[in-house]
Subunit: 194 residues, 2 copies
Amino acid sequence: MTPVTAAERSDAARNRERLLLAARELIGQGGVAALTMDRLAEHAGVGKGTIFRRFGSRAGLMLTLLDDSEAAFQARVLFGPPPLGPGAAPLDRLIAFGAGRIAYVLEYGDLVLAAGHASRGRFDVPAAALWNHHVQMLLREAGVDSPEPWLMAGSLNATLDAERLLHLVRDHGVTIERLATSWRDLVTRVAGGA
Amino acid sequence: MTPVTAAERSDAARNRERLLLAARELIGQGGVAALTMDRLAEHAGVGKGTIFRRFGSRAGLMLTLLDDSEAAFQARVLFGPPPLGPGAAPLDRLIAFGAGRIAYVLEYGDLVLAAGHASRGRFDVPAAALWNHHVQMLLREAGVDSPEPWLMAGSLNATLDAERLLHLVRDHGVTIERLATSWRDLVTRVAGGA
DNA sequence: AATAGAACCGGACTACGGTCCGTTTAGTCC
DNA sequence: GGACTAAACGGACCGTAGTCCGGTTCTATT
């Protein structure tokens, strides 16, 4: 977050902390929907413009709020124990990745949803690029020789879209187990399995 | 559109026509973004409330605007010549369906995008259910025996999400041919092909 | 410690989608 | 054709995300 070129000014840092704290408080009280920018500004004792300079948009703020948990998940994928982390067979890692992603999305629900409504389109966000790359790597290791590896990885990731998953769970009562099963089925077939 | 239970009142019909005409005019002049509800109301000489009673939301209006082309595409899929229509091998129909869908989304671009921002979530819209059912049927005919046929069809359709396709084309310069290739690769693998 | 200027601050302002409710009008029944 | 009712109408109103810019505060420099 802190730019390399210049240290963050102390008042800016103080306000950023205040804002994140106030944001979590508001969400804790009334859910993500209760977090409006006006309320946040008032509750944090800060001007509205300050929020937008700092986080760019409401979605940017949500992204920042998710930073910690997102980093934790990334760490589990990149350095954690198998099958999610390195060490397991590529297909098993792929299956575990989907299951983990599904669990993550359902756990943070509305927050992920709100973060997705970024003006940038929710695809170019750094994390998305990382997952794309990760899936692409696992596919290659699994021996999948696709004419469009990058697009194939993107397609599989589109399957894990937060809005879709939450819609299925909330409006159709689909269980997390069924989602995981479906993902396993999909990637197994793509990888040329049974 | 006209409810079976009661005929539409003449003033309502007149205003609906006015609104659709004015909407197409505004879009023709300044693109979909230029179609704001206030402007539309003024340009059509109609109150704003009238628009919302008739179409429910901005997305609903967009959906209505797409009605004709959507119906045309549906007709091609359900009754048209192979490989999109009936008569071809299931896998070929599936491939053609994706290609057709991609072309459709790219052709109507922003309109489809705006229609997708419906409050209902863009998944429960009637057309989406139809495509889901269609893909599910083709998979079954192709001998794909999935533990979750409905979710599998939904996953494949998620791959054709308008926002994703348009993002790839507009922000990454991906061609329609590459998208079609990737879709073919995906469904071929799912169907157990090469 | 004084100073300059960059970074930051705040809140009034805009544009938008969507709602509400008192008013008008179309269709119907006598 | 007059009266009645349900439907449609319209535009003021609301809450929202996001912008703008004059004033303020921090920090580096001397």
